[in-house]
Symmetry: C2
Subunit: 211 residues, 2 copies
Amino acid sequence: MTTPIHQQLRDDVLASVFAPDEPLTEAKLTARYGASRTPVREALQRLEQDGLVERRGKAVVIRTHSAEEIIDIYESRIILEQAAASKAALKATALDKSSLDALLLKMRGLDINDGPTLAATNRAFHTQLWHATHSPSLISLLERLDQQVRRYTLTTLTYPGRWPVVLADYAELLAAIGENNPELAGQVAARHMSEALAIRLKMYAADPTTL
Amino acid sequence: MTTPIHQQLRDDVLASVFAPDEPLTEAKLTARYGASRTPVREALQRLEQDGLVERRGKAVVIRTHSAEEIIDIYESRIILEQAAASKAALKATALDKSSLDALLLKMRGLDINDGPTLAATNRAFHTQLWHATHSPSLISLLERLDQQVRRYTLTTLTYPGRWPVVLADYAELLAAIGENNPELAGQVAARHMSEALAIRLKMYAADPTTL
DNA sequence: TTGCATATCTATGTATACAATCGTATGCAG
DNA sequence: CTGCATACGATTGTATACATAGATATGCAA
């Protein structure tokens, strides 16, 4: 039931088009997207339920997360990524596996300094992995968590020396999935995500303003 | 941003007031709740995002889940309940612990045959446990999963011999939380939820119509 | 000048009119 | 009788008018 305006607005929010304190008034959005208030309101409501915006008093504003909240979400995600990796090791089809292999191959060829492409491809890899679980509930939960913090693009991928480790982790992960070893796959995923969180915390400690 | 009509409609849906194939037309709901189409539409949209209703073609109908889908949700819930128990063992305050103790005490005094009360109190216990994690993301994910299958009230609690085991499990769980043992707490929770799923599967195998 | 009361203005909440669409019934032809 | 085309009806999608509330500015009095 995702309307065009909902997609546009969500994309704009995720692309940080709006400032965190800028009120998203319905009038402004109707002008911007050329629709009437009704679809705009519905889009806003969906974004609110997705945790992307929040009501502050009467106004709707971009939702920001404290460092604690981001860490909390990240910790939940570690749990779910581990579970997803395990389940993927049990449920992945040959097609799933070859898609993941192809993605990893693609990632190996990327420019290590092209942050946005790295981030996008990395996300594609994760998404593909989630789908390899063939578990609608896991997919939905992970998409939800990811979306909530996607705006905080301080990705760990460009952290010095990180990218090769990421590629190695993924290779190990795919190997575990390839041989249907759920424990190992889950363990690798958990370690990988935990390291990402650790780097994130380190970056935050070094400069708390760059969430 | 939860409107009165949204609450009423959700309560009615969770109480199985509507048949799974009955179209929830906006006209019918405006009449039932005495509001105009706009708030009704917003309520329907929220329920759709929560996975309680779905659009079938143009109509909105109660969302039903296949046995596979219910099992899938249950498996995800096992993961999250384990995580929640672990985190509760780390984060629960003295107040959290005493609230849980009080709830368990209350559960011990319940009539073993009063299914609805058993289910309600059991849910209260779980909810309290979730909150003891002080993790907004975990709470939100668990509430989401719970809500999606709450209508399938075929609770395992009235299965012969189950209730005493439940009470024993909870006592063990609270003990683990009391001594801040996250591994044990998580393990107990996982075992508890897995057994519940196993019973559910057994009940389903015996009579596939009673989801 | 400060404090409060009040008026006004702006944005949202609600109702309803209008448009578009989907499903269905109906009629006609083969 | 069956198949398809068409027209109609019901329901949702969209726009807008109206109601309401919250914030802010204004003016008066102390």
